[in-house]
């Protein structure tokens, strides 16, 4: 009797799986996440990917209660590659959401591809003004910011603080000029000189000599990634760190601090998020990130990617896992009904966040550790971007 019983039990289990499988396969949620995973800029993508994985852990690997598969794509900082990956995600993997994208030029290639296919695009970094203004779309949401907002906050702070005679340095390309435009939208004081350097420049000694000879009261820079690392080191080595206060955007963050350490001390940045923001979601995010990734501190790139997954989770939950109900998910996402790492925020009618911006300062960290970014004060509360008025979308 024993053997037939075994077969019977085995058969029953197999049958249970056989029935269970198609049902759950139908209910599977697929998210395509595009970021940069190779080359020097891969460090940003790594932080974003880590944060996405942490969000999945916090959701029990089920986004919106559904079994979730994430397909990562590496755009190599190239718009054409980004677009090609998005198409593959849409056609081959039939994803329900595409998320991520670091670079504005990549975003301008990816977002229309995704939204024209009737799929959701959740931006978690790039915020080009085209998508905030005339090119806004009901299927496009972003959990980061519009590009101009961050330098606007720094311009506002320096204007309010009465700082005069500012020397600006940024790379000579589209975003470099946009940053200065955003800065000048709120900063009305005198600008001593507006210097544009080569994109990817490694040595700033010639610019630093010029800077010292002009004797400004303050310096404003936008030099992201490796450019910022070399600039900060050379600024400090040239003995300018104590001499001219340095204000920056996207230059000093959790990804560059480990490479410059004390050369970042005293540096001011503006941002919508900081690792020390006091809210339960952020405290959990930062603590668990450190635990999972060997004590590393997450950056804002990670925080907004984490938020992106939680936004998707809130939408899928609201429609009870019915992924065909796109209207329902749009309505749910517009409520921004999730515990964001930046605290409570709302979406503007162009689907860009209305949020606070803070002044941050690099201060000494715990003994033996790297400097940390500490929130000083809010510069803007509930700040809207300048392009929303060009967006025709109403809700």
């Amino acid at each position: 009797m024993r053997k037939p019983l075994q077969y019977l039990v085995g058969g029953a289990i197999a049958a249970a799986f056989a029935f269970a499988l198609p049902a759950s396969a139908q209910q599977k949620l697929k998210i395509g996440f595009i970021t940069t995973l190779s080359g020097p800029q891969g460090v940003i993508g790594e932080d974003m990917k880590n944060s996405v994985e942490l969000a999945l852990d916090h959701l029990g690997r089920k986004v919106g209660g559904l079994d979730t598969e994430i397909i990562y794509g590496d755009d190599q900082v190239k718009p054409d590659v980004g677009k090609q990956i998005a198409e593959e995600m849409l056609k081959k993997h039939q994803v329900n959401f595409v998320a991520g994208v670091i670079w504005s030029n990549v975003m301008l290639a990816v977002a229309p591809t995704v939204t024209q296919a009737g799929t959701f695009m959740i931006g978690t970094n790039a915020g080009p003004h085209q998508l905030a203004g005339e090119g806004c779309n009901e299927l496009f949401f972003t959990t980061s910011w519009q590009n101009d907002q961050t330098p606007e906050a720094m311009g506002k702070y320096m204007q309010d603080a009465g700082i005069q005679d500012v020397y600006t340095i940024s790379p000579n390309y589209a975003a470099g000029k946009d940053m200065i435009t955003g800065f000048k939208r709120y900063f009305k004081g005198r600008i001593v000189d507006e210097v544009y350097t080569r994109l990817g420049q490694t040595d700033y000694q010639a610019e630093l000599s010029q800077l010292r000879s002009k004797n400004p009261k303050a310096v404003f820079v936008f030099l992201p990634g490796g450019m910022g690392i070399q600039f900060l080191k050379q600024y400090s080595q040239a003995g300018l760190r104590g001499q001219f206060p340095l204000y920056s955007v996207y230059t000093v963050d959790e990804l560059t601090i480990p490479a410059v350490k004390h050369a970042a001390l005293g540096q001011y940045e503006t941002r919508y998020w900081s690792q020390d923001l006091k809210n339960p979601a952020n405290e959990k995010f930062v603590a668990d990130y450190r635990k999972k990734y060997g004590g590393k501190t997450p950056s804002n790139y990670g925080a907004q990617s984490y938020d992106g997954i939680l936004l998707i989770d809130s939408a899928v939950r609201a429609v009870k896992g019915n992924l065909a109900d796109k209207k329902g998910m749009i309505a749910a996402m517009r409520k921004a009904n999730f515990n964001s790492t930046r605290g409570k925020f709302t979406f503007n009618h162009n689907h860009f966040p209305i949020q606070n911006f803070y002044l941050l300062k690099a201060v000494s960290g715990p003994a033996g550790g790297d400097p940390v970014m500490e929130t000083q004060k809010a510069v803007f509360t509930n700040h809207k971007d300048a392009y929303a008025k060009d967006c025709k979308m109403k809700w």
Binding site: G42, N172, V195, T197, T202, D203, Q205, A206, S209, Q237
Partner: protein, 306 residues
């Protein structure tokens, strides 16, 4: 525009030129003597920066870091030559470009696996940081003066080796007629390995000197390599003297362009036109210079082949 500023920018130009020379000397020797287009020269620069930074932090001594980093880069260079590049000498330049481009990807990913993609921390040792008061109120970072000193010392050493020793004679002979050198019974394979190892060590030296002032990260070599190619095209392929002159010209032109082109243009154009044209022109200057040299002296300023 005062004299102190001009003097300071001249030093800046000299320092950039010397750094480019260290890279260009190795590249031009390898190209001139072995007829090998080595795009992976920048990878060896990166290896030098990483190894030195690593050994400096592990031992706590900058001097020890420099010695071990330099020796390590030499070994990596020789191994690369023995394993990968030997098979490429007889093939055409396109194959070499493809293979050495592959080496760039290999080294960048290897470094990313070993040290991560983020830039690693590197700093100037205390005894080399700080400033030196030169004439008047010209204060210049000590470390950059050290770079200038090391670069000029290497230039003299190279001149001595190339023009006063037997090895140098073989190098010069190899650059002007390889087949004849081989026919005279010289072990050309060994010569190639020595020259390549030598070039790698020079790239490593440039890398270790730049570690404390630049970002030490995967792909750092490719950022400087383009300027180095400009240097050897201007100087003349295969000529160490050409590399030195070319590097100093490029370093000086690039620095002066970045510093003074915009104010100079503002005196003849409207300020807003100078604002747009200045930075754009400054970053093109060395390429314009290269185009002019190519038009009038396609062999470069100091061609080595007879």
């Amino acid at each position: 525009m005062n004299l102190v500023l001009i003097a300071e920018q001249t030093l800046n130009g000299l320092q950039l030129g010397v750094m480019l020379f260290l890279l260009a000397a190795g590249l031009t020797l390898v190209f001139g003597i072995m007829n090998l287009v080595n795009l992976a020269h920048g990878a060896l620069y990166m290896v030098g920066a990483y190894l030195t930074t690593y050994f400096y932090q592990a031992t706590g001594s900058f001097a020890l870091g420099v010695i071990l980093g330099l020796a390590g880069t030499l070994v990596v260079g020789i191994v690369t030559e023995l394993v990968a590049l030997r098979t490429l000498y007889e093939r055409d330049h396109l194959d070499q470009v493809l293979a050495t481009f592959g080496l760039i990807l290999f080294f960048n990913e290897l470094i990313a696996i070993l040290w991560g993609r983020a830039a690693i921390y590197s700093t100037i040792p205390d005894y080399l940081s700080g400033h030196v008061e030169l004439i008047g109120n010209l204060r210049y970072p000590l470390y950059r003066l050290v770079i200038i000193g090391v670069g000029l010392a290497v230039a003299i050493l190279l001149w001595f080796v190339v023009s006063r020793t037997r090895l140098g004679m073989l190098i010069r002979a190899g650059a002007s007629n390889r087949a004849m050198v081989a026919a005279l019974g010289i072990n050309i394979r060994l010569l190639y390995t020595i020259v390549f190892g030598f070039g790698a060590a020079l790239a490593g030296l440039a890398g270790l000197l730049s570690g404390p002032i630049y970002a030490v990260q995967p792909g750092m070599g490719e950022l400087v390599l383009i300027q180095v190619f400009v240097v050897i095209v201007i100087g003349g392929i295969g000529s160490v003297r050409g590399a030195l002159v070319g590097a100093l010209i490029v370093g000086m032109v690039d620095t002066m362009g970045r510093a003074f082109l915009k104010p100079a243009l503002a005196t003849i154009l409207s300020p807003s036109a100078a604002e747009t044209a200045g930075p754009a022109l400054a970053s093109m200057l060395i390429y314009l210079l290269m185009a002019v040299v190519l038009a009038f002296r396609p062999e470069g300023l100091f061609p080595s082949r007879g």
